[in-house]
């Protein structure tokens, strides 16, 4: 059969979102790949310029449906730097805990979707069952399961409820047990190993050249994790290790994520322990108040008001479940940010698709693209 281009997407079960992977196949072998992104572009960065700082948090939940709290976190870190706000320690710990719970939920979601792509449906429902427990936890203190709107400039909206830490510990124990189940379903299955080992190889150097981050980079043997390399929030005081793998393949990414889930559980336990013994404020006492006109006239220039916030710029980088998320906020003194820029790890990881797809087979596309952990809302923003 001659070579032909096949559109996998924008409506395709493999894509997990709205994007298009164009692959050129020769029989079953991939000879070229061309990811097309941008179907889900909502102009979030632009919308941010028309929202007050705290209102942008709502948009951050919408960037990624599995990692809303992580995006709230990175945005607010940049904003707090831009506005010169300090965050109470308890709020930092709650943020880190939320972030790690979110990472767990995201990784479980990834596991569920990834293994289902290979054709195994059982873990999908196991994953959904266990992710629900985390969502219940998040709901108990943020009030929502997906769009939390929980963090605020200068801390978080409210403290965790009474008895939360014990409940959370129970869930962590349960999850630790269940991660063994996940691994048993996969690691002991010859078919799973055949479908994952040695596929989608992206070596460390290529990862670094292309800017690929997160579990994909760590699966290539590079122990880079912003939580440890550029510690933020409460991470410097927490004890955890950065799992890596030497395979640089689909299986390596799976192993890294499984270990990361264990590390996340360890981090959550440490934060719970800290939260138990350190009551206090969760929102900074002195958040600078905007004193200009409350409702700005239309037209962007006039937003820069006479007596607004002190001017400043903020930059933040966090280790999001998918990789390194960066945020840059320019504050020109208005009640709205002048410019907000995000860097999504997923965008970069997908853009490198050609480098880890060419040479493999059509049947390998779902496991390989699944191992990238795609969240299109986040990459297109």
């Amino acid at each position: 059969m001659s070579e032909m281009w096949v559109n996998m997407g924008p409506q395709h079960p493999m894509t997990h979102g709205l994007w298009n992977l164009r692959v050129k196949i020769d029989g079953e072998v991939i000879v070229d790949a061309d990811p097309e992104m941008g179907f889900l572009h909502r102009g979030i960065e632009k919308i941010c310029e028309y929202r007050r700082y705290n209102e942008v948090v709502t948009l951050m939940d919408r960037t990624c449906y599995v990692a809303g709290l992580s995006w709230e976190h990175v945005y607010l870190m940049a904003v707090e730097q831009a506005l010169g706000v300090s965050v109470p320690a308890r709020a930092e710990y709650i943020r880190v805990m939320s972030h790690e719970l979110q990472r767990l939920a995201s990784h479980i979601m990834w596991y569920a979707a990834f293994v289902q792509d290979i054709g195994l449906m059982t873990p999908f429902l196991y994953g959904m069952r266990d992710r629900d427990l985390i969502l219940d936890l998040l709901q108990s203190y943020t009030g929502a399961r997906m769009t939390y709107e929980y963090m605020r400039v200068g801390g978080v909206r409210n403290d965790v409820p009474v008895g939360f830490t014990d409940r959370c510990r129970k869930v962590m124990d349960w999850l630790e047990e269940k991660i063994h189940d996940y691994e048993a379903l996969c690691d002991r299955s010859d078919i799973f190993l055949k479908r994952t080992v040695g596929l989608g190889i992206l070596k460390a150097k290529e990862c670094l050249d292309l800017g690929v981050t997160g579990p994909m980079l760590r699966a290539a043997g590079v122990p880079r994790d912003l939580r440890r390399d550029h510690p933020y929030s409460a991470y410097p005081e927490l004890d955890f290790v950065i799992p890596t793998h030497d395979g640089a393949d689909v299986y390596g990414r799976y192993r890294v994520r499984m270990e990361e889930m264990r590390q996340s559980i360890a981090i959550v336990r440490q934060t719970l322990e800290w939260l138990d013994h350190h009551p206090g404020r969760v929102l900074a006492e002195k958040v600078p108040r905007f004193v200009g006109t409350p409702t700005p006239p239309p037209g962007r220039e006039s937003y820069i008001l006479r007596r607004g916030y002190p001017k400043g710029r903020g930059f933040a980088a966090i280790e999001e479940p998918h990789g390194e998320a960066l945020a840059y906020v320019i504050n020109e003194g208005a009640e709205h940010p002048y410019r907000v820029k995000f860097r999504s790890p997923v965008m970069v990881n997908i853009a490198a698709a050609k480098d880890y797809l060419v040479g493999y087979r059509v049947s390998d596309i779902p496991p390989i693209m699944g191992s990238v952990d795609i969240c299109v809302g986040e990459s297109d923003r």
Binding site: M4, V6, M8, H12, P13, M14, E28, V115, Q116, D117, I118, G119, L120, M121, T122, F124, L125, Y126, R129, L185, S189, I191, F192, K194, R195, R361, V362, S363, D364, I365, P366
Partner: protein, 370 residues
């Protein structure tokens, strides 16, 4: 005396004719009336087989949904009918109400022919597979051969359907089906050859009766059972061999372009083939409708054989469901490798075992004087 399916049908038809003529069923007037009763009896036989097959298939789908649900820590269908028993009927009805359409660029004849022929050939199979002594739509001396021959029609129609859909995914799925089914047809038939060697007959009833007399064949032909089951999994296109409709990469494989009732027909065909596959495994290796040794009288009740046969079939299909819940999908090249490099030698070894058994005087093993 055993009651056969035809007896039941004739009982019904003769009573109907008796009602029409105003006589008693045991004393029909001769000539055309008796002929009419016989003809009606055959028609009734066909309808019974058809209806029983469809109901059985629906229950099979229900069984899959429930069991798969339990494996996945959920309950499966719950709301329509008792424990969701009528859910499939509701789903079928929903698909039935949908508009029948075809893609504009599709080849109309092939597009409509494929699911129809796929379903019809699948249902025909149930016509001559015995479910108990005498309970068979049409008794054919070479029923096993005929069943396997019709069973292997499917790739042809799938390929026609996939090609005429004019969709790249369908086409890839169709080609995979062709490659897969051809690769697994051979070990499947070779596994059957071993059974035929032991019984010397292609008649499924004889094969079952032989097993009742000499012991079920799964023990001496354990290799054959394994090969046959694995090959049957591939023939049914179920996980881990459901590459032709690998939904992750090929959307819905060869049936991507089919919707509404046409889709229902492809699904029905799939499950009828699943039912037939399980039937064949029970008939060839697990003693059909008989029960071993001291339990044998249990199967001697009127209709007892049918009950045990169905229970065995559902257990066999349950194993397939279990496999589906536990295993991911293999890749095309790996599938073909397993087929040609593992299944084929195993099935040949199985034939050697069967031949050796026959040489040594199966079923009363004696060492031949050398």
């Amino acid at each position: 005396m055993t009651v056969t399916l035809y007896d039941v049908a004739y009982w019904l038809s003769s009573h109907l004719v008796a009602l029409a003529t105003g006589t008693s069923a045991s004393n029909l007037p001769g000539g055309p009336w008796t002929t009419a009763a016989v003809a009606l009896a055959w028609l009734v036989t066909g309808i019974i087989v058809f209806a029983a097959s469809l109901v059985n298939t629906l229950i099979l789908i229900w069984w899959e949904r429930k069991l798969l649900g339990r494996f996945m820590d959920r309950r499966g269908a719950m709301h329509v009918g008792f424990a969701g028993l009528l859910q499939n009927l509701a789903d079928g009805l929903k698909l039935f109400r949908k508009q029948v359409f075809s893609p504009r660029e599709a080849d109309q004849f092939g597009y409509y022919l494929a699911p129809t022929a796929y379903m019809v050939t699948s249902i025909i199979l149930l016509g001559f597979l015995p479910v108990s002594t005498g309970f068979v739509g049409g008794s054919v001396p070479l029923s096993l051969l005929l069943a396997l021959a019709i069973f292997s029609f499917a790739p042809l129609f799938i390929f026609v359907g996939s090609w005429s859909s004019n969709n790249k995914y369908s086409l890839i799925g169709g080609m995979r089906t062709a490659a897969q089914l051809v690769a697994y047809e051979i070990p499947l038939l070779l596994a059957v050859v071993s059974v035929v060697l032991l019984t010397g007959s292609f008649d499924l009833t004889t094969i079952v009766m032989d097993q009742a007399r000499y012991g079920w064949f799964w023990l001496p032909l354990i290799l054959g059972l394994v090969v046959f089951s694995v090959a049957m999994l591939a023939e049914m296109e179920r996980i881990p061999f459901d590459l032709p409709e690998a939904e992750a990469e090929l959307v819905e494989g060869w049936s991507t372009e089919y919707g509404g009732m046409l889709f229902a027909m492809t699904m029905l065909g799939d499950y009828v083939r699943g039912l037939v596959g399980s039937y064949l495994i029970v008939l060839l290796f697990l003693g059909g409708w008989t029960l071993p040794g001291p339990l044998a009288p249990l199967a001697a009740f009127p209709l007892g054989g049918i009950v045990w046969f169905q229970i065995k079939t559902y257990l066999v299909f349950g194993v397939f469901i279990w496999v589906r819940a536990a295993l991911p999908r293999v890749r095309t090249d790996q599938l073909l490798q397993v087929g040609w490099k593992r299944m084929l030698p195993l099935s040949l070894a199985n034939i050697v075992i069967a031949a050796a058994l026959v040489v040594w005087g199966w079923p009363h093993l004696t060492w031949p004087a050398l």
